[in-house]
């Protein structure tokens, strides 16, 4: 009898040419496996758009990858692997395991009809996995993230001070979102639908993004490249599936009361009865001079947050349109807490998170972290990598920086948030007397 050995391997490429990089990332990912992979997660930074294109990148992958291997992935802002920390390049995770059933799904036009996209994606996965006998379920998803709309005469900007242009931009945002598919990613609506469709799954994933400019993003599914889509990998296995979320954020004690909002809770018009931008600056004691395209270097360290039951939902500022503040996803409470982060607290969140997995016999780690954390930490992400290497040791791991993070489990609830650090591990079952508790 063949022992059901779990094998995982992380590959990468730093080549500039899309096709060459595709080949190399696939070769390096599968070379350490003793048999062909049962699934393949593929990620890339946005730069291949200019060096051959993403279809050519995928063609390179399929020059090497065995035909029919389930493949999903997308563009990300950066990644950490056992090999290093990068904001340019490609990486992939290949896994081979007998005791596992795998399916992939896709849904289109996520910005126009997120619920339909999620349902279509889940339908494909449920159909393929309906006869699986394994009890532990995982959904790994990548959703097209927000794209900053192009405003007439202004190009793609995150801060528009002109009142007239901003009013026009706000009015045009619905048209832009539904017809042009530019605007917010609506990931929280997609996650709601995924959790409704697959209530007994653990879900982890994130928003596909470019180099934090939020101009374009791409998703990979099988042999093809898409945008404005959700792609997902469904997994049923005998491995334990555990997730944990940490932030490295503290409440400053400053509370903000939203007195007027629209855009399904994503556009703040008034804070404490004042125009939103004025109210925000007053609360922060910041001068108006801070409001320029560099504002985000500050607000990444000071996201908004709201509590829903006992879960914190951090939310970064997305756009300043005149007097209005647009946030990344729907604000569900009118009382916001101003949160703060430091480089140290963001790095401490890594240790805090990994502590939960220390008694597991981990086989694989997949980490989804916020691109805002990457921008805030800069070269300090090399310290994050050291911590991951110290923890995982010989166990393969892959961290990708995304535009928004999704998690769901029956134990821990459901969240689409920003500024978070999320770890998923697959681990072997341990007898209870070995660890003293059942995790």
């Amino acid at each position: 009898m063949i022992e059901p050995k779990f094998e995982a391997s992380v590959g990468m490429s730093r080549k500039w040419d899309a096709r060459d990089a595709g080949r190399e990332v696939a070769e390096t990912a599968i070379k350490n496996l003793s048999r062909p992979p049962d699934f393949f997660l593929l990620f890339s930074t946005i730069h291949f758009e200019k060096y051959g294109g993403f279809q050519e990148f995928l063609n390179g992958v399929w020059d090497v990858l065995p035909e029919g291997t389930p493949l999903v992935g997308g563009t990300v802002a950066g990644f950490i692997t056992p090999q290093g920390s990068f904001t340019r390049g490609a990486t992939a995770l290949a896994v081979s395991y007998f005791d596992m059933d795998v399916a992939i799904g896709i849904g289109f036009k996520t910005k126009k009809n997120p619920q339909k996209a999620a349902k279509d994606c889940c339908k494909m996965i449920k159909k393929e996995l309906k006869n699986s006998q394994y009890k532990n379920n995982l959904l790994f998803e990548i959703i097209s993230g927000g794209k900053i709309p192009q405003f007439p005469g202004m190009g793609r900007r995150r801060v528009i001070k002109s009142g007239l242009v901003s009013k026009m931009a706000t009015r045009l945002s619905g048209f832009s979102l539904k017809i042009l598919q530019y605007g917010v990613g609506r990931e929280e609506e997609i996650l709601d639908s995924l959790a409704n469709e697959l209530p007994d799954y653990t879900i982890i994933g994130g928003s596909s993004i470019d180099n934090n400019n939020m101009k374009e993003n791409f998703q990979f599914f099988g042999e093809d490249v898409y945008t404005n889509s959700i792609v997902a990998l469904g997994l049923k296995t005998n491995q334990n599936v555990d997730i944990n979320t940490t932030y490295g954020l503290k409440e400053t004690g400053i509370k903000i009361k939203i007195t007027k909002k629209s855009g399904h809770g994503r556009v703040i018009h008034e804070i404490d009865g004042r125009p939103a931008l004025e109210g925000f600056l007053k609360k922060m004691s910041w001068p108006y001079d801070f409001i320029d395209e560099r504002l985000y270097r500050k607000t990444f360290f000071t996201p908004f947050g709201f509590w829903k039951k006992d879960l914190l939902f951090p939310n970064v500022i997305g756009l300043i349109l005149g007097k209005d503040i647009n946030v990344g996803y729907k604000i569900e409470e009118n009382e916001l807490h101003l949160l703060s982060a430091s480089g140290k607290s963001l790095i401490n969140a890594v240790d805090e998170n990994l502590e939960e997995f220390k008694d597991n016999e981990n086989q694989l780690g997949i980490i989804i972290a916020c691109a805002a954390q990457l921008e805030a930490l800069g070269a300090n992400i090399f310290t994050v990598r050291e911590k991951l290497i110290n923890f995982f040791d010989e166990v393969p791991f892959l961290l990708v920086y995304v535009g928004g993070e999704d998690t769901y489990s029956t134990k821990k609830g459901k969240r689409h948030i920003n500024e978070s650090f999320n770890v998923l591990t697959l681990s072997k079952d341990l007898p209870t007397n070995q660890v003293g508790k059942v995790i």
Binding site: R14, H47, S85, F86, R294, A379, F382
Partner: protein, 134 residues
């Protein structure tokens, strides 16, 4: 210059959209430039003033490198100049970037480039050592 492995590292950096120029330099001296033009057009008009400011920063680099100075930066008009110092030397990897760039992402690739260059310098030193002892 074309076959210089350090120039190839700089070539990679310069391909990133927001890096407008990069070099390995010390006070009054640019040691290695990328193998092509070295500068993107938008920074050429500003080069003289940036170069003078850089030389002043290198005075500080020279004084504090031995004390563990790792990085320095300054902003001049619409540009930021990042210095990634090579430990215990008066030299640094320097990049001129757009002031609106997503600097955190660039810092990661600057650090990768610094590590790559240090590795190349280390290998070159070792190679010289082999010659000396042969």
């Amino acid at each position: 210059m074309k076959d210089d492995p350090i120039a190839l590292v700089l070539d990679d950096l310069l391909k990133l959209d927001d890096i407008l120029a990069c070099m390995v330099a010390r006070r009054n001296m640019i040691s290695v430039m990328p193998s092509g033009d070295g500068f993107k057009p938008e920074v050429k008009n500003m080069w003289d003033i940036i170069h003078r400011a850089m030389d002043d920063v290198f005075t500080v680099v020279g004084q504090y490198s031995g004390a563990g100075l790792g990085e320095m930066e300054f902003r001049l008009q619409d540009y930021e100049v990042l210095f990634y110092v090579f430990p215990d030397t008066e030299s640094a990897l320097v990049a001129i970037v757009s002031a609106l760039a997503n600097k955190g992402l660039l810092e990661v690739e600057m650090e990768n480039a610094r590590r790559d260059i240090l590795k190349i310098l280390d290998e070159q030193d070792k190679a010289k050592g082999i010659v000396v002892h042969a």
